[in-house]
Each structure stands twice: as structure tokens, then as C-alpha cells.
């Protein structure tokens, strides 16, 4: 399961949170965790929405 995340800083790295361990996964095509997230989405899954920006 994953959860989207909105940073307060527009220049920050776009990330998604892996809810099982709280890991921050950057949107980087070379990152295998990000590849796994994309594969999970491609299977029809939807990440939890991001909380409102503080």
C-alpha cells in the first residue's frame, strides 16, 4: 500500500510513502521501489490520497 505526499516546498523531491514501513520513495525511474510502485498502480491499485499541505 502506498500514500501520496505533498511537500510544503515546491522544489522538494516528489515522493510516495510506502505505508508498510513509512519509506519515502522518490519519483526516480532508476529506483526499483518506484518501479514497484508503478507496477502496483498498473495493476489497477490506487494510492491513498495525500494529506493537505501544512
Amino acid at each position: 500500500m502506498y500514500k501520496l505526499f505533498n511537500s510544503i516546498d515546491a522544489n522538494a523531491t516528489k515522493i510516495v510513502i510506502r505505508t508498510t514501513d513509512g519509506a519515502c520513495i522518490p519519483f526516480d525511474s532508476a529506483n526499483t521501489d518506484y518501479q514497484a510502485y508503478l507496477a502496483w498502480v498498473a495493476q489497477g491499485n490506487t494510492p491513498l490520497p495525500a494529506e493537505e499541505t501544512k
Binding site: I8, D9, P26
Partner: protein, 351 residues
């Protein structure tokens, strides 16, 4: 005659001395005129396997790993299904080594079709660019390792590309139970297929311990598809309390295994930290403020440039996550607090 001395014209000399053991050894000189050079791959980073002597274990510090599809010693991953398994860095090793990676099948079960029961290392493409895989100039390479198993028989080690659509299965035999034996397999590099020479997976070395029958093929040649073993291979995944240990793993260019390329501990650790970094933290990694008094940030410089922007885990001292800035060289964690610090941190960018 025990030695021949070639004296220089003005000074210096070269002595060729026979070994002080029985038998005849042959040194074949190059067939061309010129300066004699070592074969490609015999100098520099001869061993393309990282942590082949299993001394680095950043994640587990010697603790057992019982979760499938995770890392044991640095750079060495495993996967299993049906059976229950335990993997661990242990101090039992052959002479010259101090650690090995040990698999124990804690509850054996016959593998179903599609099951991967393997130990593997994924090698970054940038570290095997000279192999020429997928080209007419592909080099021959040799994998050597020490193995100790409780069950004798035929086993397999295989090599695949990143897309798992090119495979070569080589077999080896454990002749004597619970005894360290050194094995080597030599492979003519694949001249077909797509092999990455980027920061992606360049080559994978995979030790099978009983995968599903769909992964069986014929040993000794490159195949289109993903294969790990042959039908003749031992399936210790189905044997409770079976063990398998490996160490001294070396992958090198050439048609013969050479002595293990011992690197300094610091060098080996740095090579591992390109893929995983877990700094030792006692009181925390402290940061400073940015923007205003309620927004803090902690900057964690990576010890070495990582393969790409890593996935990070952390424990925030106080406050909540405001965002991150992640690159191959550093991780920055923004925290909603005026006293920013982390009490735990890891960065992972494994292949």
C-alpha cells in the same frame, strides 16, 4: 636448473624461477611482438562481485533473515516460497575467509511452479561494461566460489540479463556433505540479447536451491528466457534442516578462476554503500532551520555517491515530515519543528 636470469644491457635483471613443488607449470607468452600486458580484468577491480567474502552486513549485523525477497549480507539478496528459510551471515568459512552466507531450510516444502528459491547478486551495468555482453566481442568470464552444503548432489548457478530473457545455467557438484569445496564455472559471454551498461542491472548471478520446474533448462549454453537450473539439480528447499553456505564469490574476466581479490574492509564497505547506507547513530543526526522558526531540515550526506536517488527510512525526533530532497549524493528531510533531528536513517537504492 632452478632459475634463469635475464640481465639488462646496462643494469637490472629479470629472474624466472621454477616453483619449489613437483610438476610442470607453463606460462604462455603473447603471440605478438610488444610489451607484455596482463589479460583484461586481471588488474583493477578484478572481482565484479561486491562483498564476495560476506564481511559486510549493514542491515542485519549477523542476525537471521527470514523474510523472502530481502537482503542478507550486503549486495546478496534471496527469495523463497513454499518452504520457510533462514539466511544469515555466519563466521563459519574456509581457510582465508572469516564469514559466509548461510541458508537453512527451516521447514522444507516442494516448490510449486513459478517458485524462485535463490540467492543472487545483481551487478550494476557500469561495472561490467568491458564484458561486451550482447555484442560479437563478448568476453569469457569465470565465477568462482566456496560452497558448503549438507546435501550432496548437482546444483546450479545461472546468469541472466536485466530483462530476464537471456539465461545461462551452469551446474556444479557438492561432493562431500558439510565440507567446504571451491567451485568455478566459465562462461563464454552472450553475443545476443540486450545487456545494460548503465546504472541498471548489467548481469545477475543466481544460486538456485530448488526453484520451480518452469525454471529448468539445459545447462551449458545461452538460452532465450529465464532459467535457473536443470531437472537434475538438487532441491534442498524441500528438505527441512538442509543448509547451504557460500563465500569467496568472485566473478572475473577470463577462462580460469584466480585467487580471491581481497579488498580492504573500507573499500568493500564503500562499494556496498553505493547501494545501501545506514549510518551508525548514537544521539541523532541533527539539522538546522530554514524559512522560519518552525521548519527544520536534516541533511544526511551519503558516504559515497549512490546509484540513484534512494528510498529512505527515518525516525524523526520531534515534529512531522514536511518533505524530502533526495539525490544520489545526499538526503534532506524537512521536518515541522524547530529542533530537527533524526534518530534513525537508511538509504537504499539496490538494483
Amino acid at each position: 636448473m632452478s632459475s634463469v636470469v635475464i640481465s639488462g644491457d646496462t643494469s637490472g635483471a629479470i629472474t624466472l624461477a621454477a616453483p619449489t613443488v613437483a610438476g610442470t607449470n607453463t606460462i604462455t607468452l603473447p603471440a605478438t611482438t610488444g610489451t607484455m600486458a596482463l589479460t583484461t580484468g586481471q588488474i583493477g577491480m578484478k572481482n565484479r562481485i561486491i562483498n564476495g567474502n560476506m564481511v559486510i552486513d549493514q542491515r542485519n549485523a549477523g542476525a537471521a533473515v527470514t523474510t523472502s525477497s530481502s537482503y542478507v549480507t550486503d549486495r546478496f539478496a534471496q527469495a523463497f516460497a513454499n518452504a520457510s528459510c533462514s539466511f544469515q551471515q555466519v563466521s563459519d568459512a574456509p581457510t582465508g575467509f572469516i564469514n559466509s552466507l548461510k541458508l537453512t531450510v527451516t521447514a522444507g516444502s516442494a516448490p510449486s511452479v513459478g517458485t524462485n528459491n535463490v540467492i543472487l547478486q545483481k551487478i550494476e551495468g557500469l561495472n561490467v561494461t568491458d564484458f561486451g555482453l550482447g555484442t560479437a566481442n563478448a568476453l569469457t568470464f569465470t565465477l568462482s566460489f566456496w560452497v558448503k552444503g549438507s546435501v550432496t548432489g548437482t546444483y546450479a548457478v545461472s546468469f541472466t540479463n536485466s530483462a530476464f530473457n537471456r539465461s545461462y545455467v551452469a551446474t556444479y557438484t557438492i561432493n562431500s556433505a558439510n565440507t567446504w569445496e571451491q567451485k568455478s564455472v566459465t562462461i563464454a559471454g552472450d553475443t545476443s540479447g540486450t545487456w545494460l551498461t548503465t546504472n541498471g542491472i548489467g548481469l545477475q548471478a543466481i544460486w538456485d536451491f530448488g526453484s520451480g520446474t518452469n525454471l529448468n533448462t539445459t545447462a551449458g549454453s545461452w538460452q532465450a528466457g529465464n532459467y535457473y537450473r536443470t531437472s537434475a539439480c538438487t532441491t534442498i528447499a524441500s528438505t527441512t534442516n538442509a543448509t547451504l553456505q557460500i563465500t569467496g564469490v568472485q566473478l572475473e574476466v577470463g577462462s580460469a578462476a584466480t585467487t580471491f581479490d581481497f579488498r580492504s574492509y573500507g573499500t568493500e564497505l564503500a562499494l556496498c554503500q553505493r547501494y545501501y547506507y545506514a549510518p551508525a547513530i548514537s544521539t541523532g543526526i541533527f539539522g538546522g532551520l530554514y524559512n522560519n522558526t518552525s521548519n527544520g531540515m536534516v541533511v544526511v550526506p551519503h558516504k559515497v555517491t549512490m546509484r540513484a536517488a534512494p528510498t529512505i527510512t527515518y525516525t524523526i525526533g520531534t515534529g512531522s515530515l514536511n518533505g524530502t530532497y533526495l539525490t544520489a549524493d545526499q538526503s534532506i528531510v524537512y521536518i515541522a519543528t524547530n529542533t530537527p533531528y533524526l534518530s534513525a536513517f537508511t538509504a537504499s537504492i539496490e538494483l
